[in-house]
Structures are given as structure tokens and as C-alpha cells.
């Protein structure tokens, strides 16, 4: 039973380090001690499983949660959740949150002087299908200023939370938009050393999912750690 394969670790440089002097909030919160390598056991190979019945199929449409339609540009964000071998991650829960089209979050901490939209909460969730596919309907989030440094602005982004099949595969990330001029200046986007890894956080404009006369489509695939090929060795 204990010879279930574990999950692969990140390729060096493709995941951010904890301490980033350019990202001020990391200074007092980033661990200073090296991480202790933990071989995967049943505790890490398992993880929470959510029943498909627990997912409201309408929760993936962020434009229909109120009496009216939210302001802004309607978009479709879709893609697949796969592992590093391209195998679909089936029936896994995704949670998303974002600012409204004006760059304002519906959150008490957000003091940005941009209007709230009574027709937009910025919260959605969905479960992948058997091919690992998901699809959200939303509005394009606005860019917004933040206090990290003088004249700091976050590029437009959507937050994604994904469980995957195991405790070891848990991921929270952010999706960006192609051509955003703020990306080169954003300390959060730039925290990952590997340029190709950063660029994989940028969605791609997609004709196939674009709905004529209604909404532009953006494609964003999410890749979770792959499985070790052979059973774990006792280290």
C-alpha cells in the first residue's frame, strides 16, 4: 500500500522562491530556513475530493449572479487542467476570484477609488469534466493600483485555486492577459525566475471559444505536478 507513486517536484526555477525584496509583503512572511524535503506518503498522495453534486453548474457564470449584467467586457475563460504528462485532471474543483471591470474587488480591504458594480461579485467555481476541461464566463478584470512601491499597478488578472488529485498537487495561481503592458513591471508576475514559466501564466486569445457578437475567448491551461513513474523508494 505504501508503494503508491508520489508526485514529481518542480523543475528548479519554475516555481517562485518565498523571499522577493521587490515584493514588500514577502519580507516579514517568507520563511528563512530551508524547506525540509518530505517524501510523499499516503498523507500527501491523497487529498480532498469534492462531489460533483456539490457544484452548482451556474457558478461558472460570473455575469449572471445578480439581477442585471455587470459592466465591462464579457469574456470566456476556458482551458484544461492536466498533469505534466498531459493526462486530464478529471472532476477537480477550481475556484476563481477577481476585480470588476473597474479594477475594484468586492472586499472591505480594497480601498481603491473605483466603483463597485452591484451586478458583479467576482467569485466563481467549477469542476473539470472528464477531459479536464473547465469554462468560466466573466468580465475582463481591470488593472488597479497597489501600495507595493511608487506608482505600482497590478496587471489585469484572475485568481485560480485548484485542488488536483492530492494534497501534493494543490495550486493557487493567477492568470494574466496577452499584451498587458504592466507585466514587465509587476513584482508578483516576475517572482518566478524562469521566463517560460512566467509566460505560461498568460492566457491566449482564442477564436474557438469566442462567441460571435457576445464575448471574446481566452484559453488558459493549468498543469499540475505529474506522477512519479516508479514506486517511491524508502529514503
Amino acid at each position: 500500500m505504501s508503494e503508491l507513486p508520489g508526485y514529481r517536484r518542480a523543475v528548479p526555477g519554475t516555481q517562485p522562491e518565498y523571499l522577493h525584496p521587490t515584493y514588500k509583503s514577502s519580507l516579514k512572511r517568507a520563511p528563512s530556513q530551508p524547506l525540509v524535503y518530505l517524501p510523499h506518503t499516503l498523507s500527501e498522495i491523497t487529498g480532498p475530493v469534492f462531489a460533483p453534486e456539490s457544484v452548482n453548474v451556474k457558478a461558472c457564470d460570473l455575469t449572471r449572479q445578480h439581477s442585471g449584467e455587470p459592466l465591462g467586457e464579457r469574456i470566456i475563460v476556458s482551458g484544461r487542467v492536466m498533469d505534466e504528462d498531459g493526462k486530464p485532471v478529471q472532476k477537480t474543483l477550481l475556484e476563481v476570484w477577481q476585480a470588476n471591470a473597474a479594477g475594484r474587488y468586492r472586499h472591505k480591504v480594497d480601498q481603491h477609488q473605483a466603483p463597485l458594480d452591484p451586478n458583479f461579485s467576482g467569485q466563481g467555481y467549477a469542476m473539470t469534466d472528464n477531459e479536464g476541461r473547465y469554462r468560466f464566463i466573466t468580465v475582463r478584470p481591470g488593472e488597479y493600483p497597489w501600495g507595493n512601491h511608487h506608482n505600482a499597478w497590478r496587471p489585469a488578472h484572475m485568481h485560480f485555486s485548484v485542488f488536483g488529485p492530492a494534497f501534493a498537487t494543490r495550486l493557487v495561481t493567477q492568470m494574466y492577459f496577452p499584451g498587458d503592458p504592466l507585466l514587465p513591471f509587476d513584482p508578483i508576475y516576475n517572482c518566478t525566475a524562469d521566463e517560460a514559466a512566467r509566460q505560461r501564466l498568460i492566457s491566449a486569445f482564442d477564436w474557438e471559444s469566442t462567441i460571435p457578437g457576445h464575448a471574446l475567448g481566452y484559453k488558459f491551461d493549468i498543469i499540475l505536478n505529474g506522477r512519479e513513474a516508479t514506486p517511491m523508494e524508502n529514503r
Binding site: E95, S161, R198
Partner: protein, 191 residues
């Protein structure tokens, strides 16, 4: 085909919008076997100041040492009222509190499958952290702790950060803090 795992990014300060729906600080449903425990503590930054915008996720076996997951091959009962998952945001002082049952022992790594001491797997996310930190909660006065393989990976002087403390005169109430950086820093795992 070899793809590369997607890069982690911080949850930022506004995660409650997306994550509140699954908040769960009471992990135990009706009819679940085992010893109930409440665990409380604080998430603290390098200055010892509470982190008001952190969120903790828990994953644990039930009191039989069985995970509610299809890959747990053990012939032990799964309980309908116990999923083993919890999610608790910290309050304005960095405090968190949850109630669960003490998990049973689960197999460790390697072909011998020697049991691990009872533990809860923990992820902590917060503004300022580009990816989660992973740690574990172990239980005080647990004979299995001395031989636990994961505790054995940690230098002796830091193991205590992974073991919850009893509260004098309060049975069933344990204390466990997460110290992000500096003196007493909690042990975090590469998971």
C-alpha cells in the same frame, strides 16, 4: 509529452471572495468516531505580529487512520460525516481555531509501510507568500512521535514547532502557532 507544472502565485489580500464558500472549522459531522480536539493558534510574521490575511487548509485521516480518498488502499472504514478537509481564514489578530478528531496512524513511505504518528497535513496561504507553505500538526504525549519518519527528518531543536501543546486544565484544547520567519520559525516541508 512533458509539460511543466503551472507556477504558483500569491492568494493576495482578497482571497475571501473566492475561497470563503468552503470555509470549514468544524470538521466533524454526526456519528463520527474518535477523540475530539480543538486546535487554536496564531499565524505570526517575523515581528511576532499576527497575520490577518492568511488561510489555513487541513487534510487528515479519520480516527481509524483512513483517508476519504480513492487511492487509500487500506481496509479501514470511511465515515460519511468526516471528509478530513478543513479551511480556516485567520482573524484580524492572526488567530485561527478548528475542531476535529485526532487522526489515526497512517502508513509511512517505503515498502514496509511503517506507521506514521498521527498528524494533520497543513497548507498555509497568505498575501506575501508566492506559494503555500506546507507543514504538519502532531499531537503531544504521542508515543509514535519518537519514531515518526517525518519528525525524524527535522533537526531535534525544531521538531517542537510541529507538535501541538496541551492547555493546562483544558482537556481537548491544543495550541499550535505558525511562525513564518525568525526565532522559533515553524518547520516547513518541501512537498
Amino acid at each position: 509529452m512533458t509539460l511543466r507544472a503551472t507556477t504558483s502565485q500569491t492568494v493576495g489580500p482578497f482571497f475571501s471572495i473566492g475561497l470563503d464558500r468552503l470555509n470549514c472549522a468544524e470538521l466533524v459531522g454526526p456519528g463520527v468516531a474518535g477523540e475530539r480536539v480543538t486546535i487554536e493558534g496564531r499565524v505570526l510574521d517575523a515581528d511576532g505580529v499576527g497575520v490577518p490575511d492568511a488561510i489555513i487548509e487541513l487534510w487528515q485521516a479519520n480516527s481509524y487512520g483512513k483517508y476519504a480518498h480513492p487511492e487509500d488502499p487500506q481496509d479501514k472504514p470511511v465515515e460519511i460525516g468526516f471528509q478530513g478537509y478543513g479551511r480556516i481564514p485567520t482573524d484580524e489578530d492572526g488567530k485561527f481555531r478548528f475542531t476535529t478528531i485526532k487522526p489515526g496512524a497512517v502508513p509511512g513511505p517505503g515498502p514496509d509501510g511503517k506507521l506514521q504518528a498521527p498528524h494533520i497535513a497543513v497548507s498555509v496561504f497568505m498575501r506575501g507568500l508566492m506559494r503555500r507553505v506546507v507543514t504538519r500538526i502532531y499531537f503531544p504525549d504521542e508515543p509514535g512521535n519518537a519514531a515518526d519518519f517525518a519528525l525524524g527528518l527535522v533537526e531535534a531543536g525544531r521538531r517542537g514547532t510541529l507538535i501541538a501543546r496541551k492547555t493546562p486544565g483544558m482537556d481537548g484544547l491544543l495550541k499550535w502557532d505558525v511562525i513564518m520567519r525568525g526565532p522559533g520559525e515553524t518547520v516547513f516541508f518541501d512537498c
